[in-house]
Subunit: 187 residues, 2 copies
Amino acid sequence: MRIYLAGPEVFLPDADALADAKRAICARHGATGIFPTDPVHCPQADASAEDWLAIYLRNEAHIRGADALIANLTPFRGPSADAGTVYELGFMRALGRPIAAYANSAVPFTERTRAFLGEAARQRPDGAWEDSEGLHLESFGLHDNLMIDGGIEAAGGALIRRAVPAADRWRNLDAFEEALRSVMKSS
Amino acid sequence: MRIYLAGPEVFLPDADALADAKRAICARHGATGIFPTDPVHCPQADASAEDWLAIYLRNEAHIRGADALIANLTPFRGPSADAGTVYELGFMRALGRPIAAYANSAVPFTERTRAFLGEAARQRPDGAWEDSEGLHLESFGLHDNLMIDGGIEAAGGALIRRAVPAADRWRNLDAFEEALRSVMKSS
């Protein structure tokens, strides 16, 4: 089984080491891990005049060629996961193939958003929360925006959340391995 | 043409008014605007024990039943767009149907991320930027994460960016109408 490894690891200074570590865990479980920066046959990308578009097209080709996707949804520069990872999760859900996810944070979305907003978060008379412009905060006890949790649930996938010390959150792969195990079991 | 209206307007206290306004603009251009909270035939959602999952399933049914999607990518609680909207954009791109987007902000992604990080952003000797943990900042001059700009570009869609005063950014629909015009022209 070929599994696309979606996540913000590509931004790490030691992205190659993380790619190797994730691929090794996949291999141990009998799967092939595909990291976004792996080479892929994509003539359209090779012909692209724009670096960023070539990267996009290669990632899309990787996802189209994969049997499943595991997303790292650890919150990234804000209350939600990395936007590129979320895009790829939605993309794979639409293709109808297995998706799973993990996050090295166990704090629910509502609490993360309230912490992000700080004093700008305010409680309505009915107990719900809103920001300083009156925009509602989702409060379903989920990990992230309901489209993210919902897509994984609708696909029958697992969303593994682990409380990991902040300093380890980009490199601890225990929750990743648990998500991988769930994908392999369901296949 | 049935167009799914993806965006964080659902969180506004006057979401219904925004839905009406967007639908009216669509009607003026000969299209049918579908707002996420519109009713939709979805037995799976009706049978769901969880409110949040029912909402997810209805949104997914709306997207599957739409001919195109226009996403509001105005930055939402962080440097990137609303995570639910990004998920839906990736979903529709995978379905292969037309997508377009707009943002009531003309500040590039790198600058928004630097502003978000504040003093935690630092410049590398090669001029690139990273955060306090060494994670790279994309610097392609794009509107958001390259998967977002890339998906729209790969689909041949428009991404309209307008500098709108912050107080008007959730309700000014000029850029939305321009994105709609581009979708209607390409159809």
